[in-house]
Symmetry: C2
Subunit: 341 residues, 2 copies
């Protein structure tokens, strides 16, 4: 196998120059860098990442922790993070485990004890106090994506990316109120194995505040279900089954819940939107197919934002932590209409 | 920050012993290992993964390449791989990029040039010849998951995990034939940005061979669409719209395609299963909700299998490459019935 000395000889430069050219650290003229790069390629030279890392103090990898990869939001976000990292020549070390599981308990300690990455992106995972202390002690910057416990937001040094969940829920509820609905139920929000329930609770609160502001506080109805399509399907079927108590509109805590409600309505022969309006939050990949009115957010763009914030901190440790409120826009399709009078 | 010498002093052992105890290499009595482990914990000792890796020649990480994480199969598989790796104290370095993209072209070269992992799991990605050569030259074992180009299966040293896609497609088609259907269309199979089309082509072939074996070769109808729910929805709506040419049953190339067909049927007022039978392959998370008859496969279990095969090769380089045919079983729900006579 070729060594750095072989590469240097072939390129006609000193070993130290070849090393600087390949690691990208320190000054090397562009033409020289190109010559060294070509020599390395011709010799199939492989730098050992561990050696590079010991020399530079950098691993050129980013850790990502998330409770799941098997739901739309997480998968899209991960795709956005991955793309941004590849563009910047950084590797992605993934730790996904459900909150409260034994995998989750081991995950960060394990990762930190190996010093495997230069910085961490935590998605909808609430780092424990001792984990935050360890990150800080090791000088590793942290970016969170998604809702964060109020107690954590005060911590210095933590950058954050999320939509304004409360505002999103208020906007969808107000859209239904503006159409003339008064009997509006909210479906979802039981913490399940994947969603901590924190973002869902904030969304339920947004629904309540919009109802209260419109003088509909007494009509508030939160139908609890896990925020998955099958669970919301069952909860909505229960809710819609009793004709006397049937609402004229449903706010799904997320699109999965809203689509579950639409499927339940179809099963019961209830026409959407003429007999029932349904609105969601997320603009899930299936929203278009169900003609769902919803709030559009882009987890892919949020993933790119998270990488950008992390790189700022990696490149200059004195850079301040930032908070990005990601865009979220109402997209009106045909699952919402004025109630039948 | 504590050093290995501090840990050794606290545990009352030699530095080399402490090092062996923490790296898990070489003989150390269990009680000693435990004492060292506790000392390390009390001192918040952090081993630098790069130093450990240079010393042992192992990174204790596994690379995973896949075209996407944003679809059910890939996300479930990744969850299975992740869980098995955490259990074995191995880290997961993720490279996901769509086949044919510039990210995909850079991905493996980049990963290999860093020697970031001890072995690789490639999911529905066809490694190029030069990539295979490089892996072999570096002595890194490879496990593929999902269908593999016939030209690649002959390569020694490559372990493989997949279901028998052709058999799965034959079984679902025969289920419809046994119910009395003769006019059976197959929906899906256009390669899209994520699916290479290889597995889909094998499934289409399985459908054709079952039809031919039943004397229905002239009834073979492959309706091409990308294998996503929205695309299959559009293709099925076209197919079902013309009452004179409407089949009595549809085989979806996968559950996403089958569910797209069910949604299209509902939109057109065609009752499933009394007017149209629909069957899929996969047992996707939504299959239950749509009462879909399908072939059940478990990508999570396949992920665990892939890690098991890789560990065998890592632990003894002379271990032979293995091929695992993952289980796939017919699950009959209520989307299939005898045709109306």
């Amino acid at each position: 196998m070729s060594t750095i000395a072989d590469v240097a000889a072939r390129a006609g430069v000193a070993k130290a120059t070849a090393s600087r050219a390949l690691s990208g650290t320190g000054y090397v003229a562009e033409a020289t860098r190109e010559r060294v790069r070509r020599a390395a390629e011709e010799l199939s030279y492989v730098a050992h990442s561990s050696a590079t890392s010991l020399a530079t103090g950098r691993t050129r990898a980013v850790g990502v922790v998330m409770p799941s990869v098997a739901r739309w939001y997480f998968a899209e976000l991960l795709a956005g993070i991955q793309h941004a990292l590849i563009e910047n020549g950084l590797d992605l070390v993934l730790y996904s485990a459900v909150e409260g599981s034994s995998d989750r308990a081991r995950m960060l300690d394990h990762a930190l004890s190996r010093r495997r990455f230069d910085g961490l992106i935590a998605v909808c995972i609430q780092p424990a106090a001792h984990e935050l202390e360890r990150l800080a002690a090791m000088g590793l910057p942290l970016v969170t994506v998604g809702p964060v416990e109020p107690g954590l937001t005060g911590r210095g040094g933590m950058s954050m990316v999320s939509i304004d969940d409360a505002a999103a829920a208020r906007v969808v509820t107000e859209h239904l109120i503006d159409l003339g609905h008064e009997d509006i139920a909210f479906v979802g929000g039981i913490p399940d194995t994947v969603r901590s329930g924190l973002g869902d609770e904030i969304r339920a609160e947004g629904y309540r505040s919009a109802m209260t502001a419109a003088g509909l506080a007494e009509r508030v109805r939160v139908v609890r279900s896990a925020s998955t399509m099958p669970d919301a399907f069952v909860a909505a079927a229960d809710l819609l089954g009793d004709r006397r108590r049937r609402p004229t509109a449903i706010v799904g805590v997320c699109d999965e819940a809203a689509v579950g409600a639409i499927i339940a309505a179809r099963r019961l022969g209830i026409a959407v939107p003429s007999e029932l309006s349904v609105i969601g939050i997320d603009d899930h990949g299936f929203a278009e197919m169900f003609a769902l009115t919803t709030i559009r957010q882009s987890p892919r763009a949020q993933g790119a934002d998270a990488v950008r914030l992390l790189r700022m901190r990696l490149e200059s440790p004195e850079a301040r932590a930032e908070r990005v409120i990601a865009p979220a826009t109402l997209v009106v399709r045909s699952s919402t209409a004025a109630p039948r009078s």
